[in-house]
Symmetry: C2
Subunit: 168 residues, 2 copies
DNA sequence: ATAAAGTTTCAATAATTTTTGAAAGTTTAA
DNA sequence: TTAAACTTTCAAAAATTATTGAAACTTTAT
């Protein structure tokens, strides 16, 4: 396979994966493009390579910066802004984990904790079932949270070394 | 908080979480409803409690069965079909992991492996960067895949015991 | 065979999400 | 201060995704 075709295929696959996981397809594609670009790119170049509008490119780039996945770069003597992606895949994974934990897991944990305080009749099967399910989900979510917490602090080699060693 | 209010809040929160993770909101809500219901419910009851149409209920229930999260139940002497959810949260987590691995991770791994075979000029930074990124992502995805594989086979207590012990 | 009870399908509609593009805003250099 | 270069905003349009509802279909009992 040729490089140009491979790049397109990667961008498409990354975009699809993103959309399946609740990440805007264009955002995933812009990230993919920057991931495989040795040099920082301008908004113009991104617009052109992905055939997207200026507005879309601008918003998407802002979002990616908000996720901590890309950064602006200013080249000496140039007006234009350049964008480049952190190429360290472990940093990327941690950054995504960190943001989704904060934006999605934590709010749900908060609600689950509130829901744990519900009171009712211990003889009512509706009540008993509700409480049990909430308790179990809460416990699982807590374990996921703790694991992510560890992942955020860990070095890649240490993390996978430990996890995979346990599982051999 | 009262049970009725708590149930609504749980269904809403579960629906939101689902939609953030690429799962149809209604599907997550129906699942939530069945999770906290001690008895199996009919399509009618689900339609009514969630204010959704018959068609939507039917499709959603079919999807949930496809995901292995709920089952049909037939009560003796009754024509109606009843639906109930597996209440074991670890089974649920494994089932979701299993399906998403199959539907999303595996296709991406296949593409990444194809993309690893790309050939080009080792002096071309475009080529070198592409190859490196693909290789790194491939490795990470492989580790995720192996960990999920282990999770699918594991008992809950063993899995979290091992993972959290490593991280203490 | 018929009809009642229940289930499934799917084209049309609605809701949501994403994208556009042009206008407004900002920065820099002369 | 002006104007060119560039960036940002956001209302409107487009695209996508989810939902409805009525007709078709299936099953069961009589």
């Amino acid at each position: 396979m040729e490089l140009a075709a491979a790049k397109l295929k990667f961008i498409e696959a990354w975009g699809k994966l993103g959309s399946e996981w609740g990440i805007n397809r264009t955002m995933a594609q812009v990230h993919a493009l920057l991931l495989v670009s040795p040099e920082a790119l301008t908004t113009e170049e991104i617009m052109e390579q992905l055939s997207i509008s200026r507005g879309n490119a601008n918003m998407t780039l802002r979002d990616l910066i908000g996720w901590g996945l890309i950064e602006k770069q200013h080249k000496a003597g140039e007006r234009k802004e350049y964008f480049f992606a952190d190429k360290d895949v472990w940093n990327i994974a941690r950054q995504v984990a960190k943001e989704r934990k904060k934006r999605e897991l934590e709010p749900v944990l908060k609600i689950l904790n509130e829901l744990s305080t519900v009171n009712g009749d211990e003889k009512d099967p509706e009540f008993v079932t509700f409480k049990k399910s909430i308790k179990d989900i809460n416990k699982l979510a807590g374990n996921v949270d703790k694991t992510l917490e560890t992942m955020l602090k860990a070095e890649e080699s240490w993390f996978w070394g430990s996890v995979l060693k346990v599982f051999k």
